[in-house]
Assembly symmetry: C2
Homo-oligomer: 137 residues x 2
DNA sequence: TTTACATCCAACTAATTCAGTTGGATAACT
DNA sequence: AGTTATCCAACTGAATTAGTTGGATGTAAA
């Protein structure tokens, strides 16, 4: 179990945007977070297509959060880059396990899956922002 | 985030062993769990090298749990096949992140990591066994 | 004692995923 | 016109996954 680069960078990028008093350019995120500008392209696209960030006023204007930091969860960032969390395929709609009737391990993985989703859904970007910024809000 | 085959099969195999009133042969596990006998080799090896199961009396005698089912956790099974859970490398001893001072996302991943470990450590094989067997213990 | 079985173990493989890079299209501002 | 910013698709090398193959070794039944 690992968190992949898209999700790691995506979380860092959105925290960077949340922390900034002004709209942030992609280049600025790339510099501050030391992520290749080109690679960041797809990260930003993921956040944007999921409706978590927007261009503040068209091209060149920089990015801002699309909603309040307290209304964006880590799980939403996760889902911007991966399908809904499914630790195993046993309980996956499209690929359900043939052994699935009354399987104790399936039940356990499902339970763990739900709890991990909860853990990610209950943490908001606001809780990950730096305090100086919060004071000004 | 996915649970890999070793861990999935390993959990199913150890539940199979736990549920059996008699020592179980590798071949029996392979048949009942529909896992290739050859592939199961490495699964059994993992469980055995981690001290979770033992041969009940040398070759051909079948496997039994090395300790009580209530003393074997899902996290121990996990660790039989993977190093200690590390969702990201930022807080990894050997590969610590250069950006690591005061990084909110690192702190969050570490917190999530701890909670997932807890979730896996607090579930025992006994809880995953079938009830008929438990009654006889 | 030969044979069959059970376990042990290392090396190989195809397929997939990961973590980016390259190269360019498009649009806006200067 | 030229620079900058964003958008987007295709490509790539490296690593990981999920096994298979082939055999060595030890035990037990015939
Ligand atoms: S349901 Fe998939 S292994 Fe049990
Ligand atoms: S510590 Fe690794 S990215 Fe923050």
């Amino acid at each position: 179990m690992k968190i992949n680069s898209n999700i790691r960078y995506g979380l860092r990028a959105i925290i960077e945007i949340a922390n900034s008093p002004k709209p942030v350019l992609q280049r600025e995120i790339a510099e501050r977070q030391e992520i290749s500008l080109n690679y960041l392209d797809s990260i930003i696209a993921g956040l944007k297509n999921s409706g978590l960030i927007v261009n503040s006023g068209g091209k060149g204007s920089g990015y801002i959060l699309a909603k309040k930091a307290k209304d964006i969860t880590v799980y939403q960032v996760y889902c911007a880059f991966s399908p809904d969390l499914q630790l195993v395929n046993c309980f996956c709609d499209t690929n359900e396990c043939q052994r699935s009737n009354n399987c104790p391990s399936k039940d356990y993985w499902f339970e763990l899956n739900s709890k991990i989703k909860e853990l990610m859904s209950s943490k908001t970007i606001k809780e990950l922002m730096n305090n100086d910024i919060l004071i000004n809000q």
